[in-house]
């Protein structure tokens, strides 16, 4: 298998990139004028949010492909993506309140983007529950794919309706012109998280593939 050295290379890249990112966030990027040091959490917060959004799209992709091809690998792909999406969303939901406490004065507000993230998070937790509480096999995989597709179509509706519901609560900082150093730091963090995402994805897919092979083997030996 050629995939192992690739993963090893990737893990070295992630380690180095993470070190660079941490240094950039804390040493290189200038302190934001209004929010102060706490703004630095944004570099990771936004990167994680982007990773989560990517993951949810990949769940959709894997689900559609599974229903079309019925290949187990697409099912594993969707499952692993959902896990990563939940992990990154959890980080977003954790880092958000840490930033909100000094800035908004409270940990939580029913602010549109925060609320959208929370609802999306619960939808994908339900998706994983469909998987883990179903009898293992083809039917559960089909069910999961159907839920994966419906869930993704729902995301824009959730986003839109919550914006309507709490339009006066919009408290996320609007788009601003960034200092070049801030921009570079942001891009470094995006790159780091993209590498981390790819690495985790590869490792989990490998694990799942091996688990499937092991199960096939043990089934064959039992016969």
């Amino acid at each position: 298998m050629i995939s192992l050295p690739m993963s090893r290379i990737l893990s070295i890249v992630v380690t180095l990139a993470m070190l660079v990112a941490v240094c950039a966030v804390f040493l290189y990027a200038p302190t934001e004028r209004q929010m102060g040091d706490v703004q630095r959490i944004f570099y990771f917060h936004v990167s994680a949010a982007l990773s989560a959004a990517t993951a949810y799209f990949l769940v959709f992709l894997g689900s559609v492909q599974y229903l079309r091809t019925r290949a187990d690998r697409w099912d594993r792909f969707a499952k692993v993506s959902a896990e990563l999406g939940i992990a990154f969303s959890a980080f977003v939901l954790f880092s958000g309140p840490l930033w909100a406490r000094p800035i908004w004065g409270v940990f939580w507000r029913w602010e549109p983007r925060l609320t959208t993230m929370l609802i999306t998070f619960t939808i994908y937790v339900a998706y994983l529950m469909v998987r883990s509480y179903g009898e293992p096999g083809e039917r559960t995989q089909r069910f999961a794919a159907v839920v994966g597709i419906v869930a993704f179509v729902n995301v824009p509706l959730v986003h839109y309706s919550i914006n309507m519901w709490a339009a006066d609560q919009q408290l996320h900082p609007p788009k601003v012109e960034l200092d070049p150093a801030m921009l570079y730091t942001k891009l470094i963090c995006y790159f780091t998280f993209a590498c981390l995402f790819t690495l985790l994805m590869r490792l989990r897919l490998q694990q799942e593939r091996q688990a499937a092979r092991l199960e096939a083997l043990s089934r064959r030996t039992q016969q």
């Binding site: 939808i123 509480y133 009898e135 159907v146 597709i149 419906v150 179509v153 959730v158 309507m164």
Partner: protein, 237 residues
Amino acid sequence: MSAVPSTWAHTRILLRKDLVAEWRTKERLSPMVFFVLLVLLVFNFGFELGGAALWEIGPGVLWTSFVFASLFGLQRTFAAEGANDCLDGLLAAPVERGALYLAKMLGNVLFLLGVELLTLPMFGLFFNLTPGLYLLPLFVVFLLGSASVASIGTLFAAMAGHSRLREFLLPLLVLPMLIPALISCVAATGVILEGGIPGRGTELWPAELTVHVGMLGLFAVVFTTLAWMLFDFVIEE
């Protein structure tokens, strides 16, 4: 020969079967109506209701009760087909899967609508709702709200029987996915109920209503279409 009339004909036959069965057994409507009554009672003791509460939390109370009651009703969508392997018989018959979904979904819409219309007077009584023509748009909201709940609810109800979670699965899937529709239902109902505030202009269709009803319609159409397309994958054996 076009496929469209035959799908619709199948849908009508299947729907009639379910309605006749319900008419004879009353297994779903009566418990659901009674359940809404009980939830309204619980809310009454949870909050001090009365007077201004109607506009403050009335729409929320109403839709929370409806959604919880509908979860019980949706649970039963395919339950009757379990006895004597009726579902297998249906699937073996030359009936389009899409027609089966549409029939079950429309049946759910009718049941939910029935529950909503039957319990509205109770809600009105407990919350001192002033009857009047301004309540008419509520029927549109009820219809589209029921269609939204039924669209995804019918799809997921077909899965619930096969999970170890059983009756847990449906609420876990339906509740978070329903949030956009729920927001619109509550907002639209709020706009309508405010028409009962003395001294308010008595417009039959307040302008703010359009955006909420539009959102609700969008939700119902998108998910009915999507679920109709995906239903084949859920019940294929």
